[in-house]
Amino acid sequence: MPMPALTTPPAPNVKLRMEHVDMLFERDGKSVSVLEDINLEVRDGEFVCLVGPSGCGKSTLLNVVSGFLSPTSGSVTIDGEVVRGPDPRRILVFQDRGVFPWLTVEGNIGFGLSNLRVAERDQRIAHYVQMMRLQGFEETYPSDLSGGMKQRLQVARALAVNPDILYLDEPFGALDSVTRLIMRGELLRIWQTERRTIIFVTHDIDEAVQLADRVVVLSSRPAKIQDILTIDIAHPRNISSTRYLEHRDDLLRKIGVAYTV
């Protein structure tokens, strides 16, 4: 199959580019295609959600983009530089159990800061304790935190090393629906103040429409980009407005197609 040439030159503010990313896994001697010809450009400071049926390869794509897996073919470049492995400039936040249970809240936030001077480190920790509303829990261990606080802690630990990009892999998937709603608000608040590029994997349609600048719809396995929706509603978004519901229904329709193909 001939590879389609990139017709448009890259926009100047592109942060991350996936080009013809394919991923094959060997399983029982057979090769299974998980990702097929993924092409996507993410702008600096953009909030992109990846949605798709469960098991379609969303997490695999995030692992490729964050450098934990090498694509079978194709490439991922960030600021024009090919990704060759995980890097503290881009932090992956896991669904749950990502925080270190043997460290306190402070210890977790400061985990990636061991090369800073103590004063600077403490200042950075204090800043993110405050930003993620963990005041009063500095000396607490994760086992004594609620699920929502643990995820706030994981985000704080990620932000503390000052990454350009945050990869979030269903970060609120294990939380109850009210906490999830609160956490989305918190994430938008820090995204707006800190302006990082965010790639957010979810299978929750509402979550995607509430958060994203663009929603990338992946098909079921092998995952291909089936559609990209731009959600041009300013934050804070009214989740019962007609515009919001139109976007949501549009997305639902597109996912519905994805489920039946």
Partner: protein, 260 residues
């Protein structure tokens, strides 16, 4: 009647004490009813214990046993923990060494006594070697499985934050495996205490094991035998309870039922 209220404070002590008292009574009356000439009653054991305490050898016997355990168990920990961490960290090396470990592990340290005496002679070194053997395998194996059970999510987080492999081992894998390592150490300490008694019956002429066998050999003093047995039990219990204090350290408590 079933109630949801927690048992009262007094009940936590009352029932175990009652059980102990019943057991002592059973022991006492069994001795009386069977009219045994050999097995001592609780009262004569108590007198035997008092006699041992008056004779100052008891303290040096306890000291000798504890010293042997400290050296044998300590060496096993110092060798076993790094070795186990290394094997867990390099699965390829573990595949080579594991069959040997698994073969040696089920051999009771008692079976090593002849070998120990041939190489180390009769004396402290043989006893310490047996304790070392008895505690080394559970420690090494706990470390191997502790390391391989560390969730990959922790290692990946470590890599993501730019840690070198050595830093991942010390800052991620070791603290993540520490609860399981502590369990291995605790099991090993219990085994060390079992082995020291056996080793002292054969290889040396001091310590609590020697006290047991010597009380029997020099005049069939079964009151002293049972008194020494009780002491062995009490000290073993104290060692275990002492070691359990480590499980309360804040940085490992998550691994002991306080699931995060």
């Amino acid at each position: 009647m079933i109630t949801l209220s927690r048992p009262g404070r007094w009940e936590r002590f009352f029932w175990p004490l009652l059980a102990a008292a019943l057991l002592l009574a059973l022991w006492h009356y069994s001795v009386v009813w069977t009219a045994t000439k050999v097995f001592p009653s609780p009262l004569s054991v108590e007198r035997g214990l008092a006699e041992l305490l008056r004779k100052h050898v008891l303290w040096s016997d306890i000291g000798d046993s504890l010293r042997r355990v400290a050296i044998g168990f300590g060496t096993a920990a110092v060798v076993g923990v790094p070795l186990g961490l290394t094997l867990g960290w390099y699965p390829a090396v573990n595949q080579v060494v594991n069959p040997v470990l698994q073969l040696l592990r089920p051999i009771s340290p008692i079976a090593w006594i002849p070998v120990a005496i041939v190489f180390l002679g009769i004396g402290d070194r043989a006893a310490v070697f047996l304790i070392f053997l008895g505690s080394f395998f559970p420690i090494a194996i706990a470390c191997v499985s502790g390391v391989s059970n560390v969730p990959s999510i922790f290692r990946r987080a470590g890599r993501n934050f730019g840690l070198s492999p050595a830093q991942i081992l010390t800052r991620v894998v070791f603290p993540a495996a520490l609860p399981q390592i502590l369990v291995g150490l605790r099991i090993a300490l219990g085994i060390a205490w079992l082995v020291v008694v056996a080793a002292e019956m054969i290889a040396v002429d001091s310590g609590l094991g020697y006290l047991v066998i010597d009380s029997r050999n020099s005049g069939k003093r079964y009151d002293l035998v049972v008194a020494a047995m009780l002491l062995i039990g009490l000290i073993g219990l104290a060692l275990d309870m002492g070691f359990r204090q480590f499980e309360k350290m804040r940085s490992v408590r998550w691994g002991f039922g306080h699931e995060s």
